[in-house]
Symmetry: C7
Subunit: 234 residues, 7 copies
Amino acid sequence: MQQGQMAYDRAITVFSPDGRLFQVEYAREAVKKGSTALGIKFKDGVVLLSEKKIRSRLVEKNSLEKIQLIDDYVATVTSGLVADARVLIDFARIGAQQEKVTYGSLTNIENLVKKVADQMQQYTQYGGVRPYGVSIIFAGTDTIGPRLFDCDPAGTINEYKSVAIGAGKDAVTEYIEKEYKDNMSLDEAIKMGIAALKAAVTDDSSMKEPEIASIKVGEKFHVYSAEEVSKYLN
Amino acid sequence: MQQGQMAYDRAITVFSPDGRLFQVEYAREAVKKGSTALGIKFKDGVVLLSEKKIRSRLVEKNSLEKIQLIDDYVATVTSGLVADARVLIDFARIGAQQEKVTYGSLTNIENLVKKVADQMQQYTQYGGVRPYGVSIIFAGTDTIGPRLFDCDPAGTINEYKSVAIGAGKDAVTEYIEKEYKDNMSLDEAIKMGIAALKAAVTDDSSMKEPEIASIKVGEKFHVYSAEEVSKYLN
Amino acid sequence: MQQGQMAYDRAITVFSPDGRLFQVEYAREAVKKGSTALGIKFKDGVVLLSEKKIRSRLVEKNSLEKIQLIDDYVATVTSGLVADARVLIDFARIGAQQEKVTYGSLTNIENLVKKVADQMQQYTQYGGVRPYGVSIIFAGTDTIGPRLFDCDPAGTINEYKSVAIGAGKDAVTEYIEKEYKDNMSLDEAIKMGIAALKAAVTDDSSMKEPEIASIKVGEKFHVYSAEEVSKYLN
Amino acid sequence: MQQGQMAYDRAITVFSPDGRLFQVEYAREAVKKGSTALGIKFKDGVVLLSEKKIRSRLVEKNSLEKIQLIDDYVATVTSGLVADARVLIDFARIGAQQEKVTYGSLTNIENLVKKVADQMQQYTQYGGVRPYGVSIIFAGTDTIGPRLFDCDPAGTINEYKSVAIGAGKDAVTEYIEKEYKDNMSLDEAIKMGIAALKAAVTDDSSMKEPEIASIKVGEKFHVYSAEEVSKYLN
Amino acid sequence: MQQGQMAYDRAITVFSPDGRLFQVEYAREAVKKGSTALGIKFKDGVVLLSEKKIRSRLVEKNSLEKIQLIDDYVATVTSGLVADARVLIDFARIGAQQEKVTYGSLTNIENLVKKVADQMQQYTQYGGVRPYGVSIIFAGTDTIGPRLFDCDPAGTINEYKSVAIGAGKDAVTEYIEKEYKDNMSLDEAIKMGIAALKAAVTDDSSMKEPEIASIKVGEKFHVYSAEEVSKYLN
Amino acid sequence: MQQGQMAYDRAITVFSPDGRLFQVEYAREAVKKGSTALGIKFKDGVVLLSEKKIRSRLVEKNSLEKIQLIDDYVATVTSGLVADARVLIDFARIGAQQEKVTYGSLTNIENLVKKVADQMQQYTQYGGVRPYGVSIIFAGTDTIGPRLFDCDPAGTINEYKSVAIGAGKDAVTEYIEKEYKDNMSLDEAIKMGIAALKAAVTDDSSMKEPEIASIKVGEKFHVYSAEEVSKYLN
Amino acid sequence: MQQGQMAYDRAITVFSPDGRLFQVEYAREAVKKGSTALGIKFKDGVVLLSEKKIRSRLVEKNSLEKIQLIDDYVATVTSGLVADARVLIDFARIGAQQEKVTYGSLTNIENLVKKVADQMQQYTQYGGVRPYGVSIIFAGTDTIGPRLFDCDPAGTINEYKSVAIGAGKDAVTEYIEKEYKDNMSLDEAIKMGIAALKAAVTDDSSMKEPEIASIKVGEKFHVYSAEEVSKYLN
C-alpha cells in the first residue's frame, strides 16, 4: 500500500492526490476474487463461458449459474459480489423491457450496457454508498451484429472481440491474445474458450462443469446442457 | 484481526483494500451465534428442523419458534438477531401476499426469496444503516417442485438439497454431506436431520424438543406437535 | 470493557467484529438501572407488580405509576428511561385504537406487541438515532387467553409464564423459577409476586407501596388501590 | 469526569457503556445555572415563585419575568437557556389553544405537559440536534383540581406537591421537605415559598423582588404586583 | 481557553459538560468585534446611536449605515457580521409586513422581536448550520409606548431603558448606568448617547459622524442628517 | 497560521473561539489570487477596468473577459474562481430579468446586489457547501444615479466612489485614495484607472490590453474595443 | 505535497488556508493521466485529434473512440475518467436537444458548454460528491463561426484557437504555440495536429491510428476513416 493511501481510501467522494479513486480500485479487488468468465466473438455470433465453483454436492447446480439471460438476444456473465450482480441483472432486465416497450425491440445492446454502466458510475461519485463490487460481460446480437461488452465497477464500458473477468482474467486474456482468430466457427470458439478457462483455473473441480451459452445472428441464445458441455470437455 | 482492518470495518459503504465488506462479515458473526437450523429435500418434499434453546421454564415455548410459515406452501427458519428475523419474515409475508394478489398464487418461491434478498443487499450498499444480522432458510413447494434456499446477510441466495445455518452449521453440513441420499422418504429425512442436529448441538437441553416442519408436493406445510417430535427423538 | 470495544460502540449502524451491537447492549444497561417489575400468569389471568421508588414525600405518588393501561384488556409495566417509556406507551395506545377501529376489538395482543417491537427494532438499524432505553412487559387477555410478553431495546419479543425487568430482574427470576406453579390462583400469584419483589429489592422504602394490577379472562384490568395493596403486604 | 466519558458525550444518539446519555446530563447543567424557581400546592390551589436576577437598573424588569401564563388557568416558570424556554412556552401556548379548539377547554393539564415533554424527548433521541437546555414547572387547575408538574431536559415528567428548579433547587427542596404541610392556606404557601427561596439564594439583590403568581380552583391565575410582593417580603 | 474545551466547541448541537454552548459564545465574540451602538429611552421616545467606521474616503457613507428602519415606527441597529445582519433585517421587515397585513398595524414590537429571536434560536439547536454572528437592538413605539430591546446570537431577548452592543458595549453601559435618568428629554438623551459613545470609542475618526435616529410617540422615526448630527457633536 | 486555527477552519458552520469564520477568510485568499479589477465613479457615470491575463496566444481574448454585462445598465467585474463567478453572474442576470418582469425596470441596483449577496451569505452559514471564492464589483446607473458596489465571499456589500478587487487591490486602492477627485470627467476617470492598474500590475503582458467599460446616466453600458483601449494606453 | 495539505484535501467543501480547492486539483491529476487530445481552428472550421490507446488487439477499436459527436455541428473529445466523460457527453447531448426543441437550432455553442460547465461547477461546491475527473474539448460551428472551447474539472471554460488536454497537454501546447498560423487550410491544420501529437506521445502504438474529425462552416462534422487517417500519417 502506497504511503498515505489510507488518508484517501475510505470514501468514494475523495480523489487521492494523484487523481485515483481508491474505493473503485478496492471494488475491483472484489471482482478479482470472483469466478473466471469470458466471452468470445466468432464469425456470426458470441459465446460465453464461465467456470462453475461447486463447493458442495448439497448445492443445486442451477443456483450457481453465472450466465444469465437478459432477454432472448442478450445474456450476461458476472464476477464479484453475487448479490450486487443479481441486483444489476434485474436492473438490466427492466431496462431491456423498457427499450422494447418504447422501440418494439432492443435494436442496440450498447444502449442497454450504458444504462447499467451509468447506474454503476453514479455509485462512484456520490457519498453514502459504495461502488458495485462486480464486473459484467454483456453478449448478444442486435441490428449491428454480434456484440460483446464488459462493464467494470467504475462504470467503464469497452467492446471486445474477446474479454475475460474474475480471478483468471489475466491468464485467460494472455491465452486468447495469442490464439484468437477472426471468423472462427462456433465450435472453434467454444474449444478456445474451454482451453483458455483451463489455462486459468487451477482448481480442477470447478472445471468439471463449466457453463456455456452462445448466440448466432438470427437465432436466440442457447444455454448448453450438461450433456452438451461434457461433449466439448472431452 | 488482520493488520489495518479497523480502518475499513466501521461503515458498510467502505471496501477494504482487498475488496472485502467487513460489516457484512461481522453480521455473519451474529448469525454464527444463533441457534442451529437446517433444511433437507426428500423425494417429494422438504423438511425443516431447528434446535430450540429453552433457557428457562418460564418462557412459553411457542414464543421461541424458529420455524415460521410464510403461507401454506412456504416456511422459513432463521438464525441470528431475533428482531431482525421477525422484521424480514413480515416483509416476506407481505411479499407473498402481493404475489398472490397479482398472479393468483405463488408460482415460484425463488421470486419471493429474491425480494427478501434484494432488501438485504440494499442494507449492504447504503450508508446510515447496518446489514441485517440474520440468515434465512426458505423451504416450500411450487410449480417446479420442492424448493430449498438460503439467504445470508450479504443478500446472497443459493438453492440446496440440504443447507444449515447458525452455530452448528459446519457440523451439520459435514454430517449431511456424508449421509445425504437422493430420493429419501420423509421419515428418512427427518431422522437424518435429527441425527445431524445432535451431531452439532452439544447442549442437551436444546435438543429435548427440536422444531420440525415438512411439506410434500400437493400438500400444505405441517408443523410437528411435541408428541410427533418426541416419537422421532426415540 | 473488551479490548477494542470503543471502536465499534458509538453508532447503532456498526457491528463489532464478533457480531455484537454495543449500542443495544448499552441501552440494556439503562434498563438495568430501572425499577424492578414483573408479570405472572395464573390460572385464568395475569398479574403485574412493580416496586415504587418514592424519593421524596413531595412527589405525587400517582405520577410515578409504572403500570399503565393500554386499553381495558392490556396493560404494560416498563423499566428504563422514563420519557422513552411514555412515548412507547402512547405509541402502543394508538396502535391498540387502530386495531379496534379495523377489527372491532384487539383479538391478538401479540400483534400489538410486534407493532411496538418493530418500532424499537428500527431504532437499532438506522443511523442518526439511538435505541429506546426501555424494556416493556405487556400483559392482558385476548381470544387465546391470558398473555404475558416482554420487549427489550433490541426489539426482541418473548412470551412468558412469568417475566421480570429492571434492576432486580435476576433476583426476581431466580425466585420465581423456583416457586412458579401452573394453575395458581390470583391470590397465590400476587403473594408470590410480592415475595419475589421483596427478594430483589433491598431498599425498604420502595417496597412500602408496590403497584399491583391484574386481569382475569372475561373481566377488565383492575389496578389495586393502596388499601388493597397493603392487605397483601401484611 | 469519569474515565472514557469523552468518548460518549458528544452526540445525543450515543449511549455510554453504562447506559447514560451524557448530552442530556450536560443539558441539566445548563438548568443548574439558571435562576431558582419553585411551585407549591396549597389547600385549593398552586403558587409559583421565582427569584428575579436584576443585573442592571437599565433592564426593564418585566422583560426578565420567569413566570409566564399559558392561558388563564395554566402558568409556567422555567430555568435554563432563556431562548429555549421561550420557544417551548410558545409551543405550550399553541398546544393549549389546540386543546381548547378541539375539546372546548383544557380539561387535563397533564396532556399539555406531555405534549411539551414529548417534544423534549424527541431532542434526546435524534441526531443533528441538541436537547433543550431548560426545565419547566407547569402549574394550574383543571377538572382534577390543583396540578403541579415539572419537565426536565430528558422529557421526564413528574407531578408534585412542591417542586423546585434552577441553581437553588437542592436548598429549596431540602427546606420544603421539612416544612411542607397538606392543606396550607395561600398565605402560608407564599410565606413558605419566600422562606425557601431565601434559604437557597445567597445573592440578596435577586431576592429584592421575587416573582409570585397563584391560582385557586374556580379562579384565574393572579400575577402579584411589586406592591403585593413587597408586603410578603416584610 | 478552558481545559478540554476543544472537545465540545465545534458543533452547535453539543453541550459542554458544564452545560455551555461554545459556538454561541464564539458567535458573541464576532459581535464584540463589531462597531459600538446603543439605544436610550427618553420621556416619550427612543434614540439610537452608532459609531460609523469610515475606513476610506472612497466608501459611500450611506452604505455603512448601521441604523436601519424596519418600518416607520421600528428601527434596528446591529453589530457583528454585516451580511448576517442584513439577512436578519430583511427577515424582520418581512415579519413586520406580515403583522400589518394580518392585524392592520404593528401593535406590539415584542412580537416582531420574538419572531427574529426564534429564528436565531433555531440556529443554536440544529446541526449543519452556525449561529448568526450578530446582536440587534430594536427600538420603536407601539400601543404600549416607547420600546427598546436587544437580541443576541443565542436568541435571547431583553427589554431595556438603555442598552449597548459591539466593541464598546461595556464602556457605554458603565457610562449610562451612572448617568441615566428617567424622563429625560430627547436632547438630553442624544447628548448622553454621544458622551457614552465617546467614552467607549478610542478611534477618533469613527466618532466624526456617528449615526443618530430617534422616534417620539405619535411621530415617525427620524434619521438625523450629517448637519443635524454635527450640531450635537459641538 | 495562528495556534489552534486548524481546529476550526474546515467547516463553514464553525466559529473559531475568537468569532472568526476561517473558511470565509480562505475564500478571500482565492480572490486575492485573481486578476486585478476596479471601478470608478465620475461626474455622471461609472467606469470599470480590469487587467487581462493572456497566458497564451492560442486563447481567444474574448473568452477571458472579466467585465460582463448584466443588462444594458448594469455590469460586473469579478475576481477569484472563474466558474464560481460565471454561476453568480448568471444568477444576477436572472435576478435582473425578474426585477424587470415585476417592476418594468431595474429601478434600484442595490436590490440586485443584495439578491446576489444573500445567495453568497447562505453559503457561509449552512454545512455541506463551501463559500463562493469570488468578489464582484457591480456598476451601473439607476433612478438614484451612478452606482458602484462590491460584494465579497462573506456576502458583505459596500457602496463606493471607487473600489478594487483581486491581486492588486491594495496597490490600486492606495493609488486612488490619493488621486480621486469628485466630479471627474469620463476621460479623467479612465486615465486614473489605467494609471492605478499600472501601479498594481507588475506583469507587463497583462496590461497590454486591459478591459474597459463605462456607463453614463441616460446612456447604455459601453464596452471599449481594443482600438478604443489602445488610445488610452498611449 | 505541501506541509499541512492533508488537513484540507479530503472534501470539496473545504478551502485550504491559501484559497485552494485540493479536490479539484486532484481531479485534474486524473485528467493528466488521460489520453492526449487537441483541437485546432483553421480558416473556416475546426479539427479535433486524439491519440488512440489500443492496449490489446481484442478490444474493438470503435469502443475506444474519444471523439464523440453531440449533434451534426458539435463534437467533443475528452480526457480523464472514461465513465465520467460518458455521463457528461450524454448530459451535453440532452442539452443540445433541448436547445433545438426550444430555439429550432443550436445557435450558440457557448451556451451548451456553459450548461455542462455549470454541472461540473456544482460538483466542486457541494458536499457528498466528488468533482468530475475529466476535461472536455468542445468544437463546432454556429452562427458566430468555428468555435473551440475546453472545460476542466473546476467547471472553468475558455475559448481557443487551439487547445490540448490529457497526458501530452504541455508538449502539444508548446508545439502549437510555436507553429500556429491564422487562416490555415484544413490540410495544414490536420498535419500540424498530427505533428503535435507525435511530439507529445512517446508510445508509438498509440499513434498508429489517431482519431481525427473536422467540421467546416456550412458542412456537418466529418469523422475520418482509418484509410483517411493513414493517408495523413504518411
